[in-house]
């Protein structure tokens, strides 16, 4: 089934769901540069909907830069520019008529360190992305915030202190708050950039369990330097090395029978 699709890595394990023909998000010969330095070289990759896709590789391999091209955050970096295309539902997100602000409402992002807005309460944090898209009715807003917090597995912990500062939460709670904030505007894709690297094991576990729930509704792309995490949470894995995509496929295949020597060397811990 996996071999049937044109893009290399759309299908996950057959047991998860039948292979979906059309990717949610796709890159086509994408290169990302900082000034004259090329951080990502000519990557074509497709992400099927409702799956967790892991990007792994040693530090500096370009996986984070690649992730940041998907919601056009890369262009905010000093000297950041790209060649190639990124397609969301078949539409080029770098086309001149697409605004980066509109795109980012459809492709949300969670960062390495939890980034709750310190001047806002827990409630306001989750509502932040909704308010920015225009006027929303109070009742509707409250419902959406509650649902987002429930989906992020945080509702029971914060329902009695929604109007207190978000800074009093633990690191793991803050990160789940950031996930709630990201999913509240109902994006199609969630990008996570090493979301657990600043968390303790317990916080990490909560996030990993969460990803399993969230993929029912969203398409998830996660960058991780933790190979066990990639193996645990993802349906497909792509291995980056020195700015190039070395190999991509179903997670089980990548971790048990990698086709490329470099992939095997990395996952068995011989370098990286």
């Amino acid at each position: 089934m996996a071999e049937a699709t044109a893009a290399p890595m759309v299908a996950g394990e057959a047991s998860v769901a039948p292979a979906v023909t059309r990717p949610r998000l796709e890159t086509d010969k994408l290169s990302a540069m900082y000034g004259k330095f090329t951080a990502v070289k000519n990557v074509s990759l497709a992400f099927a909907p409702n799956r967790v896709h892991a990007l792994i590789g040693p530090s500096g391999c370009g996986k984070s830069t690649f992730l940041r091209t998907l919601n056009r955050m890369h262009e905010m970096s000093e000297g950041g520019w790209i060649t190639g295309r990124v397609l969301l539902d078949g539409e080029d997100v770098y086309a001149s008529r697409v605004s980066a602000m509109q795109l980012r409402k459809r492709v949300g992002m969670v960062f390495q360190r939890p980034t709750p807005f310190p001047t806002m309460t827990i409630y306001e944090n989750v509502a932040a992305g909704l308010k920015v898209s225009g006027r929303v009715k109070q009742a509707e807003l409250r419902q959406t915030v509650e649902r987002a917090l429930e989906q992020a597995g945080l509702w029971n912990e914060v329902k009695d202190r929604l109007h207190q500062s978000a800074m009093a939460l633990s690191g793991g709670q803050q990160q789940r708050l950031c996930i709630a904030r990201t999913i509240a505007p109902a994006p199609e894709v969630i990008l996570l950039d090493e979301p657990t690297s600043a968390l303790d094991p317990q916080g990490t576990q909560r996030i990993e369990e969460l990803l399993y729930q969230l993929k029912r509704e969203f398409t998830i792309v996660i960058v991780t330097h933790n190979m066990q995490q990639a193996a645990r949470v993802s349906d497909t894995t792509s291995f980056f090395y020195m700015g190039t995509l070395v190999e991509s496929g179903a997670t089980r295949q990548i971790f048990t029978a990698p086709r490329e020597e470099q992939t095997e060397a990395y996952i068995t811990g011989r370098f990286g």
């Binding site: 919601n71 955050m73 905010m76 602000m101 509109q102 980012r104 409402k105 949300g108 992002m109 960062f111 390495q112 360190r113 980034t115 807005f117 310190p118 001047t119 932040a128 992305g129 920015v132 898209s133 500062s165 978000a166 800074m167 009093a168 950031c178 904030r181 990201t182 505007p185």
Partner: protein
């Protein structure tokens, strides 16, 4: 054992030296405060805050006109100086490599080191000389010019402390850049910026030189910024250099009031910052 004793000895000597330095730094301040209290507190009374000056040679009277003048001029200076300073600071931190930002940073640093009397002469040339009369407004402008570079530089430094990740998080949520700057970055930095602004206010409240050429001073109660206006530092100056014993006592008292105002402003700044920091996290 000997070595340990020697180390302890060295440690004690160094601690002693450092404590002496702290004392040398703090003692003058304590002496100033002490002298002011000794010489000025005796003349303080309710009248001093609420009455106008008595005619020379008579007892009683106060400096109400100077307190009102200082509050009015400093308030107007804030209205002019703080928005410009914050705006310039935001610009310089948002576009750090921009030529205008580099230039304004340099100019602000030069202005920060410019003697305030020069600013007074500047305001005299451009406002007093043109209008052909002294005015409280000219004084406010001179004070505002002193504030702008201070507020701008603190704003810029405080905004630099806001983590870049917050900015990215807002952008990733679909915030426009202006919204990110105003609603996330500026709001997060606000307590620090306000502290900086209040400290600048405390600094200019005691300025005398720029007011000599602009507000001039006055013996009358006045709230018209278009007229010459009294101010506490000017009152201290006039009374201290006057011929009467009575005036000298009033100069001490006025100086004490001025220092108390600055002190209250400073404490207020600290209190407000701590409160906001607690609210904001």
């Amino acid at each position: 054992m000997n070595r340990r004793l020697f180390r302890r000895f060295k440690s004690n000597v160094m601690t002693g030296v450092l404590m002496a330095c702290v004392l040398a730094a703090v003692l003058p301040l304590l002496f100033i405060l002490g002298t002011l209290l000794l010489k000025g507190a005796g003349s303080l009374s309710l009248d001093f805050f609420t009455k106008m000056p008595a005619p020379a040679g008579e007892n009683g009277g106060g400096v109400a006109h100077a307190i009102v003048g200082t509050l009015l001029m400093v308030g107007t200076a804030c209205l002019i100086g703080i928005p410009i300073g914050i705006g310039a600071g935001v610009f310089a931190s948002e576009y750090p490599g921009n030529r205008l930002a580099i230039l304004s940073r340099f100019v602000a640093d030069v202005l920060n080191g410019t003697p305030s009397i020069v600013i007074g002469v500047f305001a005299w040339t451009w406002i007093v000389a043109r209008q052909k009369h002294f005015s409280g407004f000219a004084g406010s402008v001179a004070l505002a010019i002193l504030m702008v570079p201070m507020v701008m530089r603190t704003t810029e430094e405080i905004i630099k402390l806001v983590p870049h990740s917050l900015r990215e998080a807002a952008l990733a949520l679909g915030y426009q850049r202006w919204r990110t700057t105003l609603q996330i970055v500026l709001l997060t930095a606000l307590p620090g910026i306000l502290t900086g602004a209040l400290l600048a206010v405390a600094r200019i409240a005691g300025e005398t030189a720029p007011l000599l050429f602009t507000a001039l001073g006055s013996q009358y109660m006045g709230t018209n910024l278009n007229q010459p206006m009294a101010a506490l530092p000017l009152t201290v100056y006039t009374y201290a250099t006057g011929p009467y014993e009575e005036w000298h006592r009033y100069a001490w008292a006025a100086a004490l009031v001025l220092i108390l105002m600055v002190f209250i402003l400073n404490m207020g700044a600290r209190f407000a910052t701590r409160r906001m920091a607690r609210l904001g996290g």
